[in-house]
Amino acid sequence: MAFLSATPIDPAGLVGRVASPAFGGVASFLGLVRNHHGGRAVSRLEYTAYGPMAEAECRRIVGEAESRWQVRVALEHRTGALEIGDIAVGVAAAGAHRDEAFSACRYVIEEVKARVPIWKKEFFQDGDVAWVDPTSASAPHEAVRE
């Protein structure tokens, strides 16, 4: 199962992959492309990944969640060009109890953001293009053309 997807993410498909008659709760998270960032209007964006490592890291993260909690996890992250409102990432975690489902879902999205080598180039409505740097509070973007 690939974790990176060049085609739209189907939330119902994610839930369907983890739901089972033994599990009572499914917690999920969808990250959507926002129309603004740092107070500026965003028109679209592009995700680029270090593909083989991103796949490996996603697999490790899902494995960690599934061994730490009694859950089944599905994870998908988009690559390529996305429009406002598109789903950039989807996580679904099914568990016998909602506490486990929520904990696992949250764990996976946090680890994805921290560990999976994916980068985001934002195209602003004013014409600027910039790589997003979540670690830089003062200057959230680095202009692509400097």
Partner: protein, 88 residues
């Protein structure tokens, strides 16, 4: 055929996103002394034109897994210099 005896390890260093833009490079082949570490591969990249724009302690990976600057490299390793991630 036995592996050649050599005093060098050959590794490939990959650059991504803003780092690739800064150097105008996505991949560099580097020959390093045996017992070289990720830090040595990084030093080489930072000595290239535009390389000073790679931070001194970037996130790094070796063979598709996160690695520290002190990780020892062996022949054929794939090293990656990773800008701050922005997935999700």
């Amino acid at each position: 055929m036995p592996a050649p005896t050599t005093q060098l390890v050959n590794v490939r260093v990959l650059l991504f996103a803003s780092y690739a833009d800064r150097l105008g490079l996505e991949s560099v082949r580097v020959a390093l002394p045996v017992s070289a570490t990720v830090a040595d591969a990084l030093d080489h990249v930072r000595s290239l034109p535009g390389g000073e724009r790679i931070p001194p302690r970037p996130l790094c990976a070796v063979n598709l897994a996160h690695a520290s600057l002190g990780t020892r490299l062996t022949e054929g390793d794939e090293v990656a210099l990773l800008p701050p991630m922005a997935g999700g």
